[in-house]
Symmetry: C3
Subunit: 112 residues, 3 copies
Amino acid sequence: MKKIEAVIKPFKLDEVKEALHEVGLQGITVVEAKGFGRQKGHTELYRGAEYVVDFLPKVKIELVCEDSVAERAVEAIMNAARTGRIGDGKIFISTIEEVIRIRTGERGADAV
Amino acid sequence: MKKIEAVIKPFKLDEVKEALHEVGLQGITVVEAKGFGRQKGHTELYRGAEYVVDFLPKVKIELVCEDSVAERAVEAIMNAARTGRIGDGKIFISTIEEVIRIRTGERGADAV
Amino acid sequence: MKKIEAVIKPFKLDEVKEALHEVGLQGITVVEAKGFGRQKGHTELYRGAEYVVDFLPKVKIELVCEDSVAERAVEAIMNAARTGRIGDGKIFISTIEEVIRIRTGERGADAV
Ligand SMILES: Nc1ncnc2c1ncn2[C@@H]1O[C@H](COP(=O)(O)OP(=O)(O)OP(=O)(O)O)[C@@H](O)[C@H]1O
Ligand SMILES: Nc1ncnc2c1ncn2[C@@H]1O[C@H](COP(=O)(O)OP(=O)(O)OP(=O)(O)O)[C@@H](O)[C@H]1O
Ligand SMILES: Nc1ncnc2c1ncn2[C@@H]1O[C@H](COP(=O)(O)OP(=O)(O)OP(=O)(O)O)[C@@H](O)[C@H]1O
Ligand SMILES: [Mg+2]
Ligand SMILES: [Mg+2]
Ligand SMILES: [Mg+2]
């Protein structure tokens, strides 16, 4: 099983969610986050003064899926989250060894 | 070392915490989240109109423990978090390679 | 690629961020959390009565980096986050298999 974590722009959450539905993904978890990438935030003008806004609001999506659908999920997230401007986000993929569905006690692929 | 992530119903946090104490688990981290599983949220009636509530509030618990206690932790979470109704949650298990306790600099099993 | 997760005291976030910049780390994600370690929170006096404050506010930092810089990142976090008092936090290291930079589609080391 794979865990896909995507840190994206908050206003893109709905589009990413729809894109994941369309490829058949059934479960996701979302957490509010803040972060920065290579630009270390940016400088913003506010009431005539410049502020360095180093942490920008992001959302982190986590989804666990079978290996065979992970690449499809990644493509769906990339296409839906991309605006072409800096800060579009990152996707991280790792391995999950076991999944348990609490209500039924199912484990593994049946539980995802 | 194992990392156990559990996405559960928020009102179950206290019971899960107690159950983990009882099996001797000493550290947990909790993050507010929202998510959906197979039912993609549900439909709710509000002032006569139907709304699709697709993201429901959840909490995500993360705990890192030695391999030998992971299964006990999973059982404790399952038993405490289960209501028997949809949305009870999911548990994900993965591997952590190294743990460091910042105050003491200890690493590995001593640090958990 | 490695993922470094650090649960630290919230007022230490700025110092940790600076320390990571100084060793050349370019991206981090931060999430508000609450948690406890071995002391299971502590007892606090409030208006004459004692309360057990079991969950204390923490922040969780997540950063993904190349293997070769992971140890430097860990040292930077440890040094910046340590106060020498209980509750200084924990660092967890795991493996990330793939990283994708959404704007450019880059993968792997170029994408971090
Ligand atoms: N190496 C990293 N580790 C953890 N989180 C990261 C990392 N890089 C980026 N992030 C998270 O992803 C968010 C978006 O990153 P961002 O898209 O700005 O990356 P970037 O490499 O600067 O690419 P771009 O040049 O397109 O902006 C950041 O705000 C941060 O939360
Ligand atoms: N595959 C998944 N990846 C990431 N998070 C998930 C996944 N499945 C579920 N979750 C998280 O767990 C929460 C609870 O899921 P839920 O218990 O509804 O799963 P389910 O498969 O629909 O089971 P049930 O039929 O018992 O409701 C979701 O709101 C979501 O936050
Ligand atoms: N095993 C663990 N799994 C997940 N999170 C943990 C674990 N241990 C600690 N944490 C998180 O790290 C935070 C800080 O832990 P803390 O530094 O108090 O650990 P400790 O082992 O009690 O060390 P100390 O004796 O220095 O206080 C906790 O509030 C919790 O969020
Ligand atoms: Mg950027
Ligand atoms: Mg469900
Ligand atoms: Mg402690």
